[in-house]
């Protein structure tokens, strides 16, 4: 049954390659807002939700393998039944979010700062390349250096290199105990404190600074969390779980706006960024969400991010989106073009959605 679906996908790819007609690869459609608006009239939709289900999950191996069309919510619910989780806390942005979309966009949530990103937990992938070939890279074990790490290359590639079929992920136990503490302070102090604390062996699993208040989530054994709470001070927040969920899913009041939402991923110790608009900080200051009017030039925002040793993405915009991702320098762009050509020689996978050049 499942192989029939793969054969169908493969046939669609081969036909598209022959006719050079672009394919828009789509799972639950929850991250449709993300990336360049590159959808052409003649594009063919490749719906990846038909290939879904858990292939292998053995809690004591800390590895799960699932079809890319599996709903992220279903996968996380299964892990939760066994006291485990996806440590990178991927945002869903909708009930229908799929594992494939989660990996293709490569987005990670609040716990990223402590646990690692989506790419850190990918162990293996099965995918269809631009010739419709069924390929497997990596595997289901944690240590594996046979062959180039093509699996991790797929993370955040916006579907431009292949159609993901299956993904194997490392999972971790859920922390037995979590609390959130809050403390008012100014932004410069918050940035410094977050980084100082991150240099110490403290069980901080998430940080957020918004509207003059610093929020910290502490996770681990209750004894360790309570001991850290005494060291850190601050006031315990009731409903901490909902707070982090609202940051992860961008349902927090901060994000309720029609303005442009920029995502600045920069060196965490960068001093407060003085740009018009309002900001929310995560990841010890390494991630700064900027809400501002379209009148604030993208050049100044890009320059700010670059000067802070990072990059910027236009995360949400109601207008037609182009050049959403930070431009690549010529040498890097050339490598990107060449890699794209190897995986997708006819240029049919989500053309333009990542970079207009491919």
């Amino acid at each position: 049954m499942q192989q029939v679906i793969i054969d169908q996908y493969s046939a669609v790819i081969c036909a598209a390659a022959e006719n050079k007609s672009p394919l828009q690869i789509r799972g639950g459609g929850t991250k449709h807002f993300y990336g360049n608006s590159s959808f052409g009239q003649k594009d063919i939709l490749l719906d990846t939700t038909a290939y879904h289900g858990i292939i292998d999950y053995e809690p004591t191996e800390l590895v799960i393998t699932a079809c890319a069309g599996t709903r992220l919510a279903d996968l996380e619910a299964l892990l939760a039944q066994h006291g485990q989780m996806l440590p990178f806390e991927p945002p869903h942005f909708g009930a229908d979010a799929t594992l494939g979309g989660c990996i293709a966009t490569g987005l990670s949530g609040p716990r990223r700062v402590a646990a690692g990103a989506a790419r850190d937990f990918v162990l293996g992938t099965r995918l269809l390349d631009g010739k419709g070939r069924d390929l497997r890279f990596g595997g289901q074990v944690m240590k594996n250096v046979a062959g180039y790490d093509v699996s991790r290359l797929m993370v955040g590639a916006m579907g431009t290199l292949g159609v993901l079929l299956e993904v194997s992920l490392k999972v971790l136990p859920k922390p037995p105990f979590e609390i959130t503490i809050q403390m008012p302070m100014d932004e410069a102090a918050a940035i410094e404190k977050m980084n100082q604390w991150a240099s110490k062996p403290l069980p901080i699993s998430a940080t957020c600074y918004v509207e003059g208040v610093l929020f910290l989530r502490l996770s681990g054994a209750e004894s360790a969390v309570r001991a850290a709470q005494i060291k850190l001070g601050g006031e315990e927040l009731a409903g901490g779980k909902d707070f982090w969920q609202s940051v992860r899913e961008q349902s927090h009041d901060f994000f309720q706006s029609d303005k442009l939402l920029w995502r600045l991923s920069i060196k965490s110790t960068t001093a407060p960024i003085l740009l018009p608009g309002k900001q929310l900080l995560e990841w010890c200051g390494g991630l700064r969400w900027l809400l501002c009017d379209a009148s604030v030039g993208q050049e100044i925002i890009r320059k700010t991010a670059k000067n802070a040793s990072g990059h910027v993405t236009l995360f949400r915009s109601n207008a037609l989106r182009n050049a959403v991702f930070h431009p690549l320098d010529p040498a890097m762009l050339e490598i990107h073009r060449l890699l794209k050509e190897k995986f997708d020689p006819s240029g049919i996978f989500n053309p333009g959605r990542f970079y207009s050049e491919f």
Binding site: G116, V145, Y148, S223, A224, A227, I266, H311
Partner: protein
């Protein structure tokens, strides 16, 4: 171009003492840590700046001369084995720690810096670099990136790929790529992941920015002896099932226990069929809680003897035996050959039984040390290179172990790399489609194939000649039948 002409051109780039071409000077570079493979290069160059490397690469590119990069030469898969017609590019002189940013928790270093030297340099800030391969006192960080090295703590702290943030890489034509950044992610494809573990096939790494993490307040170790390997394997699963991610979890089999106990008296139980070392680290409270839990899990899992380290000296003594497994192998046998497969942990007992059977079949002893937390198995085959045919038999035995790892749903290399050594087993682990894609990725970076030719990825022709059958996990006939 004659050797003389090449040397002249290199002398225009480098000081005379940084170009070696006399046989006696080349000799120390004929092999890496896998000494069974030896080859003299045409020339060895020892640049000490990135600028010099750019010029060396431009020269080699223009004249089609292969380039093999080498760090400290501690690799165990022949990845730095020289090319007979090529330049061996030693990065050992690029050994400076350029900058340490303690608040941002990162350090910018040159590729020839020793792994342990990074942790030593940042210890004053209460930070360290987590991946700790056994050779960390000698191995270089550049080599670690090339092989995606692990260590005994990677279940909790990750491999090299999880602990670096940025690379400067030169392509074969001397172009510089800045990959990654000082932010937690970067624009474009994840080339940082692609470069890590690429075995010197895609580019030459000239600078690495590593992530530093806070040193845990405390570490403590539980040592448990078992009368059965299966029980020890179950104990590992029980620890994980309890929601504990130990900082380190190592297993040794009987023959290893005896070899190391004879070598240095670590206090191991000689009656045990397997010994498990399980370490907890973190804050005082966390460690106290976790050690209590681990202790009772070991009891419930049928351990015959359990000890908890009472102080730092005792913890290090318990570890000493495990860390001395390789030298101990060298004591009980003239030569040993270290394998590096990874398997799903639940298959451990099957695979160990299979190895035991092969050991009898080939008439060669085999010690097994196991990174039990992450499934990475290091069988050490004991042999004597002076006995005719014994090395060949050893290699065949090793190859069989790797094939067994693939069949068990694992991989032929967990952390040592494919290099020259496991090139044939790549034909079994991957199909022609995957291998073709690896060659295509290589071609995107190095279209003329001058970087480390012949390593890491076999040609399709080689696989065809070998006649090896590619095994897809669970797709072979009667996959459920034991084959060992």
């Amino acid at each position: 171009m004659t050797l003389h002409e090449l040397v002249n051109k290199l002398h225009a780039i480098l000081p005379h003492e940084a170009v070696l071409y006399e046989t006696e000077d080349l000799r120390p570079y004929e092999c890496d840590g896998l000494s069974a493979y030896r080859q003299l290069p045409l020339v060895v160059v020892l640049p000490h700046t990135e600028e010099q490397i750019v010029k060396i690469l431009q020269l080699c590119h223009a004249t089609s001369i292969p380039v093999v990069a080498r760090g400290a030469g501690t690799g165990l898969s022949g990845g730095a084995l020289p090319h007979v017609q090529g330049v061996l590019l030693s990065l050992a002189k690029l050994n400076q720690i350029i900058a340490i940013d303690s608040l941002a928790r990162m350090a910018r270093v040159q590729p020839g810096v020793r792994n342990l030297a990074i942790s030593e340099a940042v210890a004053m800030y209460g930070l360290y670099y987590a991946p700790d391969p056994s050779s960390q006192i000698a191995c270089s960080i550049g080599g670690n990136v090339a092989e995606n090295s692990g260590g005994v703590h990677c279940l909790k702290y990750g491999l090299t790929v999880h602990n670096i943030v940025k690379l400067r890489v030169l392509t074969i034509d001397g172009e510089c790529l800045e990959i990654g950044g000082e932010s937690l992610d970067s624009a474009g494809y994840d080339l940082l992941a692609l470069m890590t573990g690429s075995e010197g096939m895609l580019g030459i790494i000239t600078e690495i920015t590593v992530k530093l993490i806070p040193m845990p307040e405390k570490a403590q170790l539980v040592m448990a002896a078992f009368d059965d390997v299966l029980k020890a394997g179950n104990a590992v699963a029980n620890v994980i099932a309890a929601g504990i991610i130990p900082a380190g979890m190592e297993m040794m089999d009987k023959i290893t226990i005896h070899a190391v106990e004879e070598f240095l008296q670590a206090g191991y139980d000689l009656d045990a069929a397997a010994i498990l070392l399980c370490e907890s680290d973190g804050s005082d409270e966390e460690v106290a809680d976790e050690i209590k839990q681990i202790y009772s899990i070991m009891q419930q899992s049928g351990a015959t003897k359990i000890s908890t380290s009472r102080n730092e000296a005792e913890r290090l003594r318990f570890w000493a035996g495990r860390k001395a497994a390789f030298p101990a192998a060298g004591r009980v046998s003239p030569d040993y050959y270290c394998m590096d497969g990874t398997i799903p942990r639940k298959r451990l007992a099957d695979v160990l039984r299979g190895i035991e059977k092969l050991s009898l079949e080939y008439g060669l002893r085999c010690m097994n040390v196991f990174h039990a937390g992450d499934g990475n198995l290091h069988p050490l085959i004991l042999y004597d290179a002076n006995q005719p045919g014994e090395l060949e038999r050893t290699e065949e035995f090793g190859g069989k172990i790797l094939e067994m790892c693939i069949r068990a749903g694992g991989t032929i290399t967990g952390e040592h790399g494919v290099g020259m050594e496991k090139i044939n087993q790549m034909c079994i682990q991957f199909g022609t489609g995957e291998l073709a894609m690896f060659h295509a990725v290589k071609a995107a970076f190095d279209p003329t194939g001058l970087l480390n030719p012949g390593k890491a990825v076999p040609t399709l022709h080689r696989c065809a000649e070998l006649g090896a059958m590619h095994v897809h996990r669970g797709e072979e006939k009667f996959a459920e039948l034991p084959r060992f």
